[in-house]
């Protein structure tokens, strides 16, 4: 193994260690402190990742992207590591704002707005409803400790490293990068990704289909609608049916619970803990069978 390879492996391992350590320090671990150090290490690892990634060419574009990405990732870390679930939901809303901005930056107009409307406007509000109904006052004990903090931080760091390595190896093998390797004969710098002259056109004029799928065109919404309702019509209908099924299922679950707490519910023996679970599994099975029979009767 050459020295350059050892240095590269050490750098990758160091990055993974930094990410794992920052995750571990940020997760709620009872009364143990170290959150500020976790924040500092997390910021350092983000800056390191940003350093390794090639930047976009006009600095204003790059600045906008960096602000959006920073807002998204920092809010995501906050949404997952804070001790109060309501704060987690609010930071998740901030993450959704960041993701919406990132999608708009890519030119996905409909998705940028749909993320806000559907996720932050419907799903998150439903979350908050259930939280308000179920969350105890103050910080509950199960919010302030986590399951396997060590293992999960190692798993998270491993996931980041694997996905980053997969991205860089996939992009090193693209035709654009290969062409850049071939044409980059005059420059002495070996960083081909950052200094290549090849520009990949956005619209590939080879096939008519590719020519028409122009994401950055003026009539983006019309084209998206045309694609959605012509090529993916069956999927749209199936999605509508699935929404109906989810609605019926959610109502069935809620109504079924009310039937369980009535005095006519079947009683199982054993401890309270075991009895609850048997009832849960039994009623869950009965509920599924009831739904299936109801669906077949009406279908």
């Amino acid at each position: 193994m050459t020295q350059a390879q050892t240095i590269e492996i050490l750098l990758v391992a160091g990055r993974g260690l930094l990410i794992a350590l920052s995750f571990w320090l940020l997760l709620p671990r009872g009364a143990a402190g170290g959150r500020r150090l976790g924040i500092a290490l997390g910021a350092a690892s983000l800056v390191w990742i940003c350093w390794e990634v090639p930047r976009l060419s006009p600095w204003s574009t790059d600045g906008v992207f960096l602000v959006l990405a920073a807002v998204t990732v920092v809010s995501a870390v906050g949404a997952v590591t804070l001790r109060s679930p309501v704060y987690c939901a609010i930071w998740f809303a901030m993450t959704l704002l960041g993701v919406s901005g990132l999608l708009l930056f890519q030119g996905a107009q409909f998705l940028g707005v749909a993320t806000i409307v559907v996720y932050a406007g419907a799903i998150l509000v439903t979350f908050l409803f259930v939280l308000m109904l179920a969350q105890p006052q103050g910080f509950a004990y199960y919010d302030r400790i986590s399951w396997e903090a060590t293992f999960s931080s190692i798993a998270g760091a491993g996931m980041v490293l694997v996905l980053t390595a997969a991205v860089s190896s996939a992009l090193a093998g693209t035709p654009a990068a290969a062409a850049a390797d071939k044409t980059d004969t005059d420059k002495t710098d070996t960083n081909t990704l950052a200094h290549a002259e090849v520009v990949t056109p956005l619209v590939d004029p080879s096939t008519p289909e590719k020519r028409s799928a122009d994401i950055l065109s003026q009539d983006h919404m019309e084209r998206l609608g045309a694609q959605l309702f012509s090529r993916h019509l069956i999927a749209v209908e199936v999605a509508g049916t699935m929404l109906l099924a989810a609605l019926v299922g959610a109502v069935a679950i809620a109504v079924q619970h009310r039937q369980i707490t009535s005095p006519n519910a079947p009683q199982h023996g054993g401890s309270r803990h075991g009895g609850l679970e048997q009832r849960a599994l039994g009623q869950g099975g009965l509920g599924q069978a009831g739904l299936g029979q109801g669906g077949q009767a009406h279908g």
Partner: protein, 147 residues
């Protein structure tokens, strides 16, 4: 080359969102925060899909994200109905209460040291009552005649 750099940056952001969601899903014990982390994973995948769609100039990325949005909404409805049902039975949102649903070859997770419950309950300031208390009629407390 700028498209490639854009793609690279977006894939990194998607990977980070996915990993953060993964860490949250594995480690948190509140059922609702676990579900929030699962939604975070879906966000990471959405960002990556839109980036690939832009790079290959294909609508399929955005259309799949539309369907992911739909599926996430359905999943949220069912999952929150289940969570509220489980809360009604267990009395807490702790998922360790249901750990007898684990695989048979695993040991039970026993909490070693629980942090005290009311350790960080905030104490809100109170104002001293001042002024005269208004007279309240008994019938008004039962049924308000006007708002």
């Amino acid at each position: 080359m700028d498209e490639l750099h854009l793609l690279y940056n977006y894939l990194i952001v998607g990977a980070l969102l996915f990993s953060i969601g993964l860490v949250g899903f594995i480690s948190r014990r509140n059922m609702i925060v676990m579900f929030l982390a699962a939604e975070m994973m879906l966000q990471g995948v959405s960002v990556s899909l839109v980036a690939w769609g832009r790079f290959h100039n294909d609508w399929g990325g955005q259309i799949l994200v539309i369907f992911i949005l739909t599926v996430a909404a359905c999943e949220a409805a069912i999952a929150l109905a289940l969570v509220s049902m489980l809360f009604q039975r267990a009395g807490s949102l702790d998922i360790a209460f249901w750990q007898s649903l684990r695989e048979s070859n695993l040991d039970a997770f026993v909490d070693q040291e629980l942090p005290a419950d009311d350790e960080e309950t905030p104490h809100w300031p109170t104002l001293t009552p001042a002024g005269v208390e208004p007279e309240i009629e008994e019938e008004e407390t039962v049924h308000r005649t006007h708002v």
